[in-house]
Amino acid sequence: MNADAINDIAARHPDAFRRSLWKRYAAPIGVLLCILYTFYCWWFFSIGMVLEKANWNLASAYLADWVSYEIRPDIEFKDNYLTIDYSRFSKLGPNPNPDWVTKEMAVIERRVDAAPAPAIATDKSSQGSFMAPGAPTAENPAAPPDQSAQAAPKTVRENAVVAATVVFGNGRIAITPNLVTVTRGAESVIFDIAKDSSVMPRAALPDWIEQRKPGSTAYVSLGFFGRAEVQNDEVVAWRRFFGWANFVFDTNSPFWGKPFGEVASLIVSGERIDPSRSNAALAWDNILNNAEWQHGDVWLKLLQTIVMAFVGTVLASVVAFPLAFLAARNITPSLIANQTTKRFFDFLRSVDMLIWALFFTRGFGPGPLAGMSAIFFTDTGTLGKLYSEALENIDDKQREGIRSVGATPAMVQRYGVLPQVLPVFLSQSLYFWESNTRSATIIGAVGAGGIGLKLWEAMRTNTNWANVFYMVLLILVVVFVFDGISSYLRRKLMGTAGNGNDERPGRAPARLAPAARP
């Protein structure tokens, strides 16, 4: 192809070769504007600063919390022994004795500088009265009765923990009253503890241990398996376990901690634990009222959300249906009626769902009534607008045909208009049902009830991320199930699975089967 031929082609297609400046540079200008706008937003929201200040460790800890839980043993140094303590509402139940904390017991002598025991204290001078406060009784089962309860500082001999080891998946922390050995993988660090004054490592610290200044608390990170703090008076370990703790029964339930087979046999044929009701009823009640997971409440709230979306959409469709006929200018010839209805739709739509939700929450009090009313009002506007647009786009021939055989106006609508628009209407409503199942969650968080509020409360406390994830999973399941139902119904109605784009005029889908290509 020589230059003449090229010029010839260029001369024949001026629209392709000599385009206007605007057409030539629209795309680069658009991209440039977007980039400039990004810089502007970066400055406006000071994104860089926020990202810098963000606590990413917190983020990963929260994410880990979604699918795991932590148990926190507190190992306190006493003069020549240790006490092991678990938080009061530990996930291990009232008497924790996990196998990942090994203890070495020995009979030791210790001074007790309790105040001179008054009469009441001497009376109950059994075991346990001189133990360190909070020490679980299970750990010193052989504590001998004290010999003398008269002198204030005194010496007792008893069985106590002298060394403990907390085993993590990838390491361990061995603790004695003045020495802590932290091991992760092949590396190991020994700390000398001077009680109540300092924590001194014997070697240089690896990067998974942080000590902000010499002698202060050492922060040990063991990856997913947990972390620990070696302080000068105690070692606090956070041991992480994969899974959801006590998901079915909480620690107060008589079924707690029992293997599945035992629970099943108790329910089927066991003796009644609670004489007033059967074991099955008791188990069900325990599951519903699980203090940590609140299954009953979560399911109730989820049902509220589903109901909000369902009722809101159905009522909106029912109300929008007749109004749309009033708003369509080819159905109702009165301009005043058209415009009034259309502006009414616009009003309902533009007063945001948020405002409607706040308004109805004030009116009805928090709960699904408020949420469904908000959805009802907003979607009456949106559906009405869409319905009336569909009506204005109908084919007039069918109506004329019906009218020409002398049908009444109602009959004309029924047989001339409705068959054309009903699938579209129903399909639109199904879309909104689907979409409202999602928005009902958000609306809930501003007080309109349902799972949104519960979710929001669980998130704001920052401690219950596993519960959050549980609710999110439930919501996802509900959304996917309803998406499935809705697209199945739509397919039945319209004969297509698409979202209406498939019916776009003027562009036939020209697809190449993937297999037909090299």
């Binding site: 109730l300 405002i355 501003v446 784009n501 190449l512």
Partner: protein, 324 residues
Amino acid sequence: MSATDVYRAPALSPEGAIVERHWRDLAARRRLYTIGGLVFLLVALSGSLWFANETNAGKFFDRLPYIADFFVELKPRDWFDPVRALFDLPSPYEDGSLKYDYPEGRVYLTQSLYIPEYFYRMIETLNVALFSTLVGSTFGFLLCFLAAGNITASRWLRFTTRRFLEIVRAFPEIVIAGFFLAVFSLGPIPAILAVSIHTVGALGKMFFEVVENADMKPEEGLRAVGANWVERVWFGIVPQVLPNFMSYFLLRFEINVRASTILGAVGAGGIGESLRLSISRGHEAKTIAIVFLLFCTIVAVDQFSAWLRHRLVGRQAFAYGRGE
């Protein structure tokens, strides 16, 4: 034709009679399904209404007389006060309380020129919406070609991309916002992230459906002259889908303005937060000002977007659903 001849419907042939009978059966079954469906819907609806009423804090009929309380309590001391609140002009009722401290919220650009507080908040919310739509559509744009059956041959890549888009779309915005609120503390960034992530899923889906309906002839031509994958997509597909993409972008922007307002109300800043605060503190004039501003903004955004979409894609601007 004699008078005794009465008009009679022509008798059906035996085959015709069978067809007729089948048609009647079908029609009867259809009617049964319709009635069954309606009855089911009615039962479900009344059951739902009963359930909603039972579990609501206030009962429907008890609360109905008080339903307009919200508006009754909204009556300001005089009808210029909302205007003053809107433009941050000093109020004659100024008593040092938060209720009438309108000038306090001014955001000064220069010594004397200021943006009234609620306009500033509204700009913030609009920026959240626009920026997250931009971010979301950028990623949606990149991903949609991987999900389209006519562009991406690898079944696995397509499957993974589509499932990813689906999960991202179904994940409630509020959870993402809540999570990032915990990480970033209060501010609009969690809302940007939440809305952007949701937008990736929603727009990605709309985009790949457009791409799948694209005319493949330009792509074929480019393939014939040896263009690689990126060139085929960029010169063969993008020019024809861009108007539709922009139309969906605008539709999504409308939706995101609302979404970022709501997220604002749960703690992510912007006009939503101002609204929630002024309602809960009982500041009538401020509430009216905000509701009015919000209403006008949403109408303006909707009108502008509808006009532009109409220019871009003509009648296709008539979109189904909310594009989720």
